[in-house]
Amino acid sequence: MSTSPAPASFETRLLAELRQVVAERAAAGPLSAAAPTPAAPHPSAPSPPAPSPSAPHPAARQAGRGWPGRRLVITGALSATVAAGVAVALTVALPDNGQRPAGPHFAAATTVAAVLNNAALAAQSEPAVTPRPDQFVYLKLFEVLDYSAANRRATAGRGDPPLPSREVESTESWLSVSGTRQGLSVQTGHADNHPARTYRAPEPFCQDGVERAQIAQNTKGGFRGFPCTPQQLAAYKPWLPSTAAGMLAYLAHLFPRKKNTNPVGRAGSMIVYAFGLLTSTDLTPAQQAAMFHALAKIPHLRIVPKLADALGRTGVGIRLRDRRDSYTVIFDPRTFRPLGETFINPAIAHREALVVPATVVDQAGQRP
């Protein structure tokens, strides 16, 4: 590649962070230095270098989301949560659809405010269960990624048949309640008609102020060297605000309004982050209700009376459009618990469903 001096600013800061990564690797010794390479190209095994975020606290990972050698196992809203600087975790379990014997009295879901208020009522009606620090939160997601629109565009007018390009993935995650025990993610997926592949990866934990995770069973192993606090990696965060005003201030603090900031983009960042927390962190019922009420104050949201999630479940949506992108959170129209989310633009459609929204279990790998 061409020689060129690194300009100031972002490149300079990135260099400082990368130097730190290298220094930490050197300090960690030969195991780390011998970490598996994800990037060596080979035509018959095009394994992506699959960066996987986990606790985005270190700037290097905020920048790169990357821990090469692992496949990205936490996706969607989880990614947003993770990339934004908060450890992954999960919510209390949702009731089976339509199985609620008796619940709060919901208003007609005809406005954004009504849907979010119903969601807050539903959250508050859940029992507050305090998990033990040694437990894990289990979550299962199902995703469908459809790139066929991009392919149609690429072949438009040529008379070529559209290229099939669809990816289906199912991910189970176990995340430490306290952030101090190693968790696990297992992802099974396939693209088009290719055979399914399964990836297993540890979820990191924080020990002695350093984020750790054995990279994989079948490698020489290694440890991450990023600084952390257990709170960042904790799946249960009782210290987050539990009032609507507090939660809104928290979101506004994370995404400050700046000169030249696109207000719709900022609202989008806030809502993506918020639903990442709601679906991937064991927020208390009060925190969840606070979050829904806070979201009701975010402008630019529209209601979508009826749409389907990745599993074909029909719900009512709250949508934010930013230029060509459209992000929608889907709620169960009877229980008003989140069903999933979609992210669609003219090229790509990504639909994600919460299959098992969240359950506390005793061990990583244990299903509820």
Binding site: S9, F10, L15, L18, A33, R65, G66, A154, I348, H350
Partner: protein
């Protein structure tokens, strides 16, 4: 499928100085300084969002750090190796790149980029728009052919470097390049890809 290229034909390959990148910050800095602009441009030819460009640039160098020990001079130049990594990072992003992942990237990038960075990256993204359009125009080609043509025609790599970046033999790369150009020529006769500048399309063939 062919195996990894071994142009030297010796079969014996020793780690080069690049191996130091993984544990020597100064070695990393030298490599980074030499290549960061090219990597950013490579990414900007494929991604149009400044935060994602910043994220992927960081990701490429993280991958470099973690895989530097695997570099073997006999398999190609450092540049070819770097492009191979960059390509894998981006294809990983594409495969995964559903939009909330992009949203996540924007959030992540937001912490790293100030307004000046964004303006500068947007300028770079604009500069590379023809390359992005060309990459899109090639999307209809068979993936193996497209990969070679992208690296050669859009990124300007010599065929041998493109072959090394893709982990294929140079002869294989030339065959694929020939086929890809033929496909691109056929495509040019059709009203496809109207947003690709004619000049860029001509470079492709």
């Amino acid at each position: 499928m062919t195996g990894p290229a071994d142009p030297g034909g010796t079969g014996r390959q020793r780690p080069g100085p690049l191996a130091r990148i993984g544990h020597d910050p100064d070695a990393l800095e030298a490599f980074y300084t030499e290549h960061v602009t090219a990597v950013t441009r490579f990414v900007a030819r494929r991604v149009a969002d400044p935060h994602t460009v910043a994220d992927l640039t960081a990701e490429v160098f993280l991958a470099v750090i973690h895989s530097a020990h695997s570099y073997r001079p006999g398999r190609g130049t450092p540049v070819a190796w770097l492009y191979g990594i960059a390509r894998n990072v981006i294809s990983g992003e594409r495969r995964r790149a559903a939009n909330e992942l992009r949203a996540a990237s924007r959030i992540a990038g937001r912490r790293l980029l100030d307004d000046d960075d964004i303006a500068r990256l947007e300028e770079r993204i604009d500069t590379e728009s023809a390359g992005r359009a060309a990459c899109l125009a090639l999307a209809g080609l068979p993936p193996d052919e497209r990969a070679v043509l992208e690296l050669v025609a859009v990124d300007g790599l010599p065929v041998t470097d493109a072959a090394a970046a893709l982990g294929i033999r140079p002869g294989t790369a030339r065959v694929r390049l020939h086929r890809a150009r033929r496909s691109a020529q056929q495509a040019m006769g059709r009203p496809a890809a109207p947003d690709v500048p004619q000049e860029q399309m001509e470079r492709l063939i």
